[in-house]
């Protein structure tokens, strides 16, 4: 569903991402982890067509994001780390706007269901500038889910959410995956990635250090369970790569 082949992104002399390749099939949830500056957001932005790759191909549901951007974006939902909503639109109008942009006919029923599942029903007529950080995040997720995308990209999805919101988002991510969507979650919250994701990709300094099924990655560092298994794996992988670089 999501396929990245030999993707690189350079800003002048600086290589933000170096020749990475991976695939996410429908029903899989990939956790994209790495320290600050590893290239996670750059990868997500290239996948959703916000920035152009320097080289390589990125495709969504078989559509190359560079050659067929419109078709690729129709199959995609993207939730940035700091969702910038339109200040003058209400919550409902964000959904109406998304429905028109993605050509979703008769969206009202799905929109109502999304509002209910994210506890936004009472906020439907509230202007975006009056929403809290967590509420804005929920609106962005509801908009991304509205057109039933086959691929969903989350950049730090739980920032600013309350415990109830966190549980709700986790449940809806799992539900989307069960329904066949391919999902990528970029996050620093390793416990979230460990409990939610089926696969993991560790990025460091723009390079892919490890990519595979969660169980395989954890097995590699000798830990398959416990609260901090992925954390141990993460530090082991990134430390090894730093030693290699040194």
């Amino acid at each position: 569903m999501i396929k990245v082949t030999n993707y690189s992104k350079r800003y002048g002399d600086f290589a933000a991402v170096k020749d990475i390749s991976f695939e996410v099939a429908g029903g899989e949830i990939l956790g994209l982890v790495g320290p600050n500056g590893a290239g996670k957001t750059t990868t997500l932005r290239a996948l959703c067509g916000v920035i152009a790759p320097t080289s390589g191909t990125l495709s969504i549901a078989g559509h190359d994001i560079v050659k067929e951007p419109i078709a690729a974006k129709r199959c995609l939902g993207y939730i940035p780390d700091d969702p910038r909503l339109f200040d003058t639109l209400t919550v409902w109008e964000h959904l109406a706007f998304t429905a028109a942009a993605y050509n979703v006919a008769d969206f009202e029923e799905s929109a109502e269901a999304l509002l209910q599942s994210f506890d936004l029903t009472k906020k439907r007529d509230t202007l975006a500038h009056d929403l809290s950080r967590g509420m804005r995040q929920k609106v962005a997720i509801a908009c991304a889910f509205l057109h039933e995308p086959q691929a969903i990209l989350f950049d730090e999805p739980l920032t600013g959410l309350d415990p109830r919101g966190i549980r709700g988002i986790q449940q809806s991510i799992r539900a989307r995956a069960r329904a066949g969507a391919a999902i990528i979650i970029s996050s620093h919250l390793l416990s979230l990635v460990e409990t939610l994701c089926t696969h993991v990709l560790v990025l460091n300094s723009g390079e892919c250090r490890r990519f595979g099924a969660m169980s395989e990655v954890l097995l590699d560092v000798g830990q398959t369970n416990g609260d901090s298994a992925l954390e141990a794996a993460f530090f082991s992988i990134t430390r090894d790569s730093e030693l290699e670089d040194a």
């Binding site: 957001t41 750059t42 920035i51 419109i70 200040d87 942009a101």
Partner: protein, 544 residues
């Protein structure tokens, strides 16, 4: 004032200077400073050359005429401002920024200390504003010291009176005076309209003449007494006794206003804090591309559906909502200005063929309206990521962005043309109709260029404090560049019209059609150019 607050003022002043110097030290800063200098020099030259050349309005034709206008209209202008503030004020007093609230409100300072601190900051700002304004006043306005003192004390008066009125409104909220504001406003407007209609109907005098007569009457003199002081300041012919006496009276008035503010402070502290938070929130939205006139409402009636129109619909729909909610008031003001343009110009004795009228009209349509009516890409800098991720072709997104501002601006222009046609002598119906036909393509070109420049060189829309040289310089350079582009396109359109004229013999209809078509073609060609610029637009390159 507390010594720590005085120290803070000094540090902030030093920081401001350091920031400006850093701006000027960069190559871009130097370019913008040179541009400011060149344009200021041109304006100063024009300003000193204008008196007596016969082309200007009466106010610029000589010292006697100017002094009469200051004496007649300045007190009325100040009264009008005061009344307007009293009627519409929701309690704008002294504004404290969030960092000031965090640091100072929790510090060991009395609220009186904080107001004194804020007042000193305003004084410094007023000094700087006066220093910037005075060189641009006509040379015959009076000695520099007189105009500087007059400008400075008048700015301080305006700020203090606004604050005092705002605090008064807060302190007596819910009283009969607060309830009487709206009816009083409507009555005042009705009285003014009746006076203008009477003047026009009877032919007894023009509207401005009537206003001047009221000012010189004994009723006017009593009513306007505090405001006449500031006009007298500007009209001082020598430093002693004229300037010294009137400046002393003005200082006493300002000191009395400050005393009122201190007295009202205890009753309005909570509301003042709330107002400061509200204003800070609004400024933060303005910095993100919103409008100064933006609504404070927290809810709105939702529109159930947006049109698709091949992807163009939702963008235009969103900007239409943005225009209504964010710029509704500014649109209303512009429409009102357009409606009264004709009657006001008639009352002031301005001719439509006057070069100053045409320049003023161009400045209004090409600078003031686009800078204020921001409902396109320029207000969406922080949301480019959202647009980029949409499954809509870039040229459609660009066309959707242009639709609303072009239609609104054309409507304002058309109303202004109609108003001028009805009221101003010398405006032929044919010329007005021709101008009306060109309004839409001209605005397409105008907003196309405006957005294209923005997509190629994105920049903030509001300055960072006073004397933001980079912002001022950039604004001037951009306006000059846009003017060159627009005039080049207009020249091309006229050229195409002339070709049509020579081919057809003497058909002015063909001249107009060829010019119009050329303008439409070039204006439309900007949309794909914008699309290309949008594709290349780099969203904040956060590398993570």
């Amino acid at each position: 004032m507390d010594r720590a607050l005085a120290k803070l003022l000094y540090l902030r002043f030093r920081g401001g200077i350091r920031h400006r110097l850093r701006q000027l030290a960069s190559p871009r800063g130097v370019i913008f400073l040179v541009a400011i200098g060149a344009i200021a020099w041109l304006l100063l030259r024009t300003g000193t050359a204008s008196p007596g050349d016969g082309s200007g309005g009466a106010a610029l034709q000589g010292p006697n005429s100017l002094h009469k206008h200051v004496s007649d209209f300045m007190p009325l202008g100040l009264l009008g401002f005061t009344v307007f503030t009293a009627l519409v004020s929701k309690g704008r007093a002294f504004h404290f920024s969030p960092n000031e609230i965090n640091f100072l409100f929790t510090g060991p300072f009395t609220h009186r200390d904080l107001i004194a601190y804020k007042f000193c900051a305003y004084l410094a700002g007023a000094l700087l504003s006066a220093a910037i304004i005075v060189p641009f006043l006509p040379a015959h306005a009076g000695p520099a010291l007189v105009t500087f003192t007059g400008t400075f004390l008048t700015i301080v008066f305006i700020q203090l009176s606004s604050a005092a009125i705002g605090m008064f409104a807060q302190a007596y909220e819910g009283g009969w005076m607060a309830r009487a504001r709206r009816p009083a406003f409507v009555l005042g407007l009705a009285a003014m309209a009746a006076a203008v209609i009477y003047a026009q109907w009877t032919g007894y005098n023009n509207a401005l003449g009537m206003v001047a007569m009221f000012r010189q009457s004994w009723v006017g003199t009593i009513l306007l007494a505090p405001f006449i002081v500031f006009a007298k300041l500007f009209l001082a012919r020598d430093i002693y006794p004229d300037l010294a006496v009137w400046a002393a009276v003005a200082i006493v008035i300002n000191a009395a206003l400050l005393r009122v503010i201190f007295a009202l402070d205890a009753r309005t502290a909570d509301r003042s804090l709330l107002q400061s938070r509200r204003l800070s929130k609004r400024w933060s939205r303005i910095r993100q591309g919103g409008s100064l006139w933006a609504s404070d409402k927290t809810t709105g009636h939702s529109v159930r559906r947006a049109p698709n129109l091949g992807g163009l619909g939702p963008i235009a729909w969103r900007q239409a909502i943005n225009a209504v909610r964010n710029s509704g008031r500014v649109i209303a003001v512009f429409l009102a200005v357009a409606v009264i343009a004709g009657p006001i110009a008639t009352a002031a004795g301005i001719q439509s063929a006057d070069s100053r009228t045409i320049a003023g009209f161009y400045f209004f349509i090409a600078f003031i309206v686009p800078r204020t009516l921001v409902c396109d890409f320029r207000g969406d800098l922080n949301r480019m990521e959202t647009y980029k991720a949409l499954p809509v072709a870039p040229w459609r997104i660009c066309a959707g962005q242009l639709l609303v501002p072009v239609v609104l601006s054309s409507a304002i222009g058309l109303i202004m043309i109609l108003s001028t046609l009805f009221f101003l002598h010398g405006t032929g119906a044919r010329i007005a109709i021709a101008l009306a036909a060109f309004a839409l393509p001209f605005n397409l070109l105008l907003y196309g260029v405006e957005n294209l420049v923005f997509l190629l060189f994105p920049a903030k829309l509001v300055p960072v404090g006073r004397a933001d040289f980079e912002f001022i310089g950039r604004t001037m350079v951009e306006f000059a560049a846009k003017t060159i582009i627009i005039f080049s396109v207009l020249a091309a359109a006229v050229g195409a019209g002339l070709i049509g004229l020579s081919v057809s013999g003497r058909s002015w209809m063909l001249f107009g059609m060829a010019s119009w078509l050329t303008l439409v073609l070039i204006g439309s060609a900007i949309v794909p150019l914008m699309g290309s610029a949008f594709r290349r637009f780099t969203v904040e390159e956060t590398v993570e």
